[in-house]
Symmetry: C2
Subunit: 424 residues, 2 copies
């Protein structure tokens, strides 16, 4: 029985949007349906999210970009985060995640859902843990029942995809915290809370033992599960260690199980990976997860670039796309230092879009090649409006050209313009 | 007979600096000498350049970064360019090229040589062509004799390395300008002027026919020849075409010929290269040029990122370093749009340094791995001063942390800090 028969919400969503999606992605409808059915693509969209434009994730659909926004304990402003949401939409994000961990989380989430026509994702565990942290209690004191309530509430509010760290086991968390095996320990917030919970309660990960509960809710609302990598290494030196792969293997089992139960799943990936290991990690993860859509954070190819991690992340991301990654979570210049500001949000999205375009061009995706060709043709004609249209950021081109917009060449070469010399 | 015996200026330079260079690069003196002698490394340094700190180029020596600065016809200010020189030194450039094409070029060059303790490079052809352009004449009206005079004068002034487009032939230039073979034609300023000169004079490239003259001057002053790629493609769509490879083959012959005559040579490379082709191009060029140090511009892995070409260039550069590139010419956010400003110079250098570090980490260079390890260790301890020291840009880390410098965690997570949760 097809996934569309097991997941009515998905079926309705597909029927409403299939023509538009096929045109936008340049793919046949049947091709997309088969890929969704096989779990190689996911269609993000919760019917409870008003005004939603759904997004298709999974190559050869266009690689999508996610922007993480949200409050933090020391920088907590709803208007500030809504401004970042607007900046993310303007800069060309395809999805947004609300990672708020301070303030009235329900109010923030609902305000974002109202203003965001793109799929919105969350990490429900944050809301549960935040109730304890903000009361000065241990963040791991929550009960599993609170998790299911939070997931259900957020699904009802209209959240389109949720990170759930289901693949983390006590065994692998132990390896990740073994100083003989790993330098940096656990750096995922969700992973760290769950490792703490497992120690405190002397029980296995509740997201893993209660996976059936999550599946039940996710299917009802077509919430796509983003199976989180709570044990992703936090340093290039730790990339590809036993804890990481143990979790990947489990994520593969869970993705197949979710799909069989009528739930769309994608898989989250690293993180910090030396450049020589990016292609191997991406193809390895895709293999172990039966080609489920892969959602990567970076990967960062060096750890010594704080203030510029969007650049180190773009290097990893371009290579990851070329190796099969489907969905890029941006990194901003604020990563590892502070909460991103408005300019950081834009910088992060632009870097990710460049990485996606570079990867897709390497893969000879027809739409990516057409964008490249449009720029080359415009440059050859010294057609500045044409270059502006072909550019990822047209406003930036116009802004930097403004003092010389009447000139045929650019201010780098002036009369020395090589193209002009060749034209005459 | 060893290169050191044929090039007295190089021998003197090496004897003066060998101990410092060996320590700085973490390589044995004999290893470096053998590599220079075989043409796999070059030691940049003209004895006429006062106060010079020479630079060794060629992996496994650390990958070096060049910053291009210099006036243009519509933005011509000596103080402005000297400020950029200062910014380049501050940001960690290893060499600087003065690409000025407007104003009093001798005065600009001499001012830069005086203030720049790093090797300074030039493109002597620009000065010759500029005399004609600024007089409203055809830039290709110069005589070959003027080239030798200019090269000699600049060597006497102390220029350490010079781009000379010796490998361009009439045949290959014809291919580059054939619209059936290439979209973008010739985009190198030097290449474009020479193609025009060859058409106008109905003669072969004077840099090629007069290569012996150049060698004579270069040997006397230990000017390293940077054999320019005047036919590098100007669009990813043109990467790896016949014109490009024809020139690379010729550059290989010329590098071997120069070395045999006692002159250090490096080779310039692309340019615009789709990500999937970067490794193949780099290894191909290194092969055809007998492993001469390879000096790459980018390569840009997408053409649609004007305003952000430092990022597209960093993606290509990191992959190029991993494949064997030795020397990175920065690209700034101004590339393809206008002359870089001060902030662009810094942004370009930082992006290149990130690319170099990513590539060297991928290659497991011990010094690069040590820098990565220092950051991971500091992060694990939440040691912010340690992270600042380990970072490529310490001032940036301090600046972004300044509102929260007394806090143990960072403002992204606050009490949600995964590392802190794991520590307690």
């Amino acid at each position: 029985m097809s996934l569309f028969c097991r997941n009515q919400a998905l079926k309705n969503l597909w029927e409403l949007h299939q023509s538009g999606l096929a045109v936008k992605e340049g793919l046949e409808r049947q091709y997309i349906m088969d890929a969704i059915d096989a779990g190689r693509m996911v269609l993000l969209g919760n019917p409870k999210h008003p005004g939603l434009i759904p997004a298709l994730i999974g190559q050869p659909a266009r690689v999508k970009i996610n922007a993480n926004i949200g409050t933090s304990p020391w920088l907590c402003s709803l208007p500030g985060e809504l401004a970042k949401l607007e900046a993310a939409l303007q800069a060309g994000a395809d999805t947004v995640m609300d990672l708020s961990i301070a303030g009235d989380l329900d109010a923030i989430r609902q305000a974002m859902l109202k203003r965001c026509s793109l799929p919105l994702g969350t990490v429900p565990l944050y809301a549960v843990a935040q109730r304890y942290i903000s009361a000065g209690k241990d963040p791991a004191a929550f009960s599993a029942e609170e998790l299911w309530e939070e997931i259900h509430k957020q699904a009802e509010q209209g959240v389109d995809f949720m990170t759930v760290h289901c693949g983390l086991t006590r065994k692998a968390a132990g390896w990740a915290q073994d100083e003989d095996l790993r330098v940096m320990g656990i750096v995922s917030r969700g992973g760290s809370i769950l490792a703490r919970w497992m120690r405190r309660h002397n029980l296995e990960n509740p997201f893993l033992t209660g996976y059936e509960r999550i599946i039940g809710i996710a299917r009802e609302y077509n919430v796509t599960l983003s199976l989180g990598d709570g044990l992703r290494p936090g340093a290039g030196l730790d990339a590809g260690d036993a804890a990481q792969w143990e979790e990947v293997i489990m994520l593969g089992h869970l993705a197949r199980k979710g799909l069989a139960a009528g739930v769309q799943c994608m898989v989250e990936g690293p993180g910090h990976v030396p450049l020589a290991e990016v292609a191997g990690q991406i193809s390895g993860i895709k293999k172990l997860t039966s080609q489920a859509p892969l959602y990567v954070l970076g990967p960062l190819v060096t750890d010594i670039s704080p203030g510029y991690d969007h650049i180190a992340g773009a290097i990893g991301a371009a290579n990851a796309v070329m190796a099969g990654a489907d969905f890029l979570c941006y990194l901003t210049p604020a990563e590892h230092l502070t909460l991103p500001c408005l300019e950081d949000v834009k910088a992060g999205i632009m870097a990710s879009r460049i990485a996606a375009q570079a990867g897709e061009t390497a893969l000879k995706r027809p739409q990516a090649l057409a964008r490249e060709a449009a720029m080359a043709e415009a440059r050859k004609r010294l057609d500045w409006p044409g270059m502006s249209v072909a550019a990822l950021d047209s406003a930036m081109v116009d802004e930097r050209r403004k003092d010389f917009s009447q000139k045929e060449a650019c201010a780098m070469c002036g009369e020395f313009c090589a193209v002009k010399m060749a034209l005459n």
